[in-house]
Symmetry: C2
Subunit: 369 residues, 2 copies
């Protein structure tokens, strides 16, 4: 098969950083090799810095972002537990589905797709929830939900937050916001291919882990015995759980290195600038953005498909033209927004002014604007 390369401006994956591509080809090591364990430890340290947490239990789950979501719920939910979920997009819906399958009493707090959640409503939806769960950056709508207020008002509940599309794109402050469990994905603002889910859990969450979750593969208590470094004084005492996906860990290690070398504030500023350039450019073209100002993600922009497409083109035709003529991928709408919006990502290595300029030029040509 011929090799095809794309400028990846959909809702993820983004283009990986060159350092990440190089790291994928590192020689494979055994999952118990001291050299690999040192690299894994460094990866977890880097994750702590990017997630802004001191949680010892911080590691990459061996699956995609959705495995991170499932790991969060499966280690915390007992049948009948009240779980409040903020729902204003596809990934809030998915949280309800995942928690529901585990027997949770799911309490939905909705906002229309394209609008942010009201934190006060989330906090008062149930008198004593075991978990309050929200998506920080809704990949389906480009909306940012506020997390800090939920941490302040959560009471005895555990706060579980999806940071898949926010991590390393906008500020994510796990400890500062009193988040108990957060999970991300590698293929968005971290600039790493999909395949791992950065995961962190607070001491409070850990104390309340269910003893024998229905999933063995995602049992964080067991996985911690492999991932957590032994006390400096003792001999190595890692307990094998499953074979770590070493090449993807190399890739994540490298992506985190790029982000930390650039510095988090600078990485956020780059995503912010690209988002503004893109959103200003789309509006200058006469297009209408979906997410309201103030809750608009810079890294993922949702824009209404205009009514007056050039002759012969429909929504999918525009995307196909971008893909085939320019090698640019943008995303379609999800769920109720299918056919009505485009989702344009500018994440990770893709988040550069040159890609914004290219996308605006190409889209302008296709739309004849």
């Amino acid at each position: 098969m011929p090799l095809v390369d794309r400028v990846l401006m959909g809702p993820g994956p983004s283009n990986p950083y060159p350092e990440v591509v190089a790291a994928l080809a590192r020689p494979v090591l055994g999952h118990l090799d001291p050299e690999f364990l040192a690299l894994l430890d460094e990866t977890c340290d880097r994750l702590r810095r990017v997630m802004q947490t001191a949680n010892p239990l911080t590691l990459p789950v061996s699956g995609t972002g959705s495995a991170g979501m499932e790991a969060g719920f499966v280690n915390l939910v007992r049948p009948g537990d009240p779980v409040v979920v903020g729902v204003n997009g596809l990934f809030g819906e998915r949280m309800c589905e995942v928690a529901g399958r585990l027997g949770a009493q799911v309490v939905r707090v909705e906002a229309p797709w394209g609008e942010p959640l009201d934190p006060a409503r989330v906090l008062t939806a149930h008198p004593a929830p075991r978990i309050v769960a929200v998506v920080h950056a809704e990949t389906s709508t480009g909306v940012r939900n506020d997390v800090a207020e939920l941490g302040e008002g959560k009471g005895d509940a555990l706060l579980l937050v999806d940071v898949v599309t926010s991590l390393a794109g906008i500020a994510v402050d796990v400890d500062g916001w009193a988040v108990d469990v957060a999970y991300g994905g590698t293929q968005k603002c971290l600039g790493v291919p999909p395949g791992l889910a950065p995961f962190t859990a607070s001491a409070s969450a850990r104390e309340r882990f269910v003893e024998r979750p229905s999933s063995w593969y995602l049992d964080m208590g067991l996985i911690a015995r492999y991932v957590e470094a032994p006390a400096a004084s003792g001999a190595p005492a890692r307990t094998y759980h499953h074979t770590a996906p070493v090449s993807m860990v190399y890739a994540l290690h490298a992506g985190l290195g790029v982000v930390l070398d650039e510095g988090l504030p600078s990485v956020w500023a780059r995503h912010d600038e690209c988002g503004r350039l893109l959103q200003d450019g789309l509006e200058a073209m006469g297009l209408e953005l979906v997410a309201p100002k103030g809750h608009r993600l810079p890294e993922l922009t949702t824009v209404h498909v205009p009514d007056d497409l050039p002759g012969g083109l429909d929504e999918a035709g525009v995307r196909r033209r971008l893909l085939e003529r320019y090698g640019i991928e943008i995303g379609s709408g999800a769920g109720p927004m299918a056919g009505r919006v485009w989702r344009i990502g500018c994440m990770g290595h893709t988040a550069r002014p040159r890609n914004v300029a290219l996308l605006l030029a190409a889209l302008g040509e296709v739309l004849e604007r």
Copy 2:
């Protein structure tokens, strides 16, 4: 961190094929890109050929081999279902644990570690099991369990087989043996880094999938809607489930390509020859093999640690010497065999006479034999 390379002769991962390393660096594509979907379809076709099955539902699960095990059980087990598990090593034990967490009534049929299961005992352990589950190649002991007889005698039960360490190392004939669900790993005889679990399910298994398994991430009914190609006549109708781990899929695609280009009989013969060379060499050195002749895996050899180690060396010291002086990884014993055996793998790209010659020479030097 400096790059360290190893000759990987433990129980996995093995060294990846050069074509696989190159494939990891292929440009990342979106999980809905037509070019990626074509490659995914080809990967599933190649999996069917290597697993020797015509099952439409044949795909790589987005997790390591253990995720494949969990996917098998979570889609089939309802609370209270009788599940017969053959247990003669760590991975049979793991099957009991995974099935037990899902509420199965687990019926264990044991053989001592290091000996094969008796198929007749497995088949008569319960009058009407929903599932009969065995590990084809026990990675913990180097023993091969017979599968064909289980397929012949399974009756109404579904036959679930772990082929993690057998696939592409020795013959695995899913359809010929009437296996209903099989799962593998990429990091053994396929010569691909760890991270995906090849998975297949028969039509009978599929008909009996539980409707809403407790795991959303591993719900094969949902995943099939994304992976299975739409009917040739219709328009593409893939339903997004989770973001496919594209770079690992590239790697698997390439590894399967290497195996199929060489030809399965030739790949099996290569593993067989290397296993015999290794086992003969170890015996010539005066060491004693664990697995009995006739049920000895060529790709994974378990050997007793001799009593008369050279001064100052213990079991772990021998492995450390091999790792530090020669850059060769071999494995320790698992479970009750810890400290008493070594596990020496010769799988995938590692399965070459040159690596056997090297291992025998290096081990001979370390053991002074």
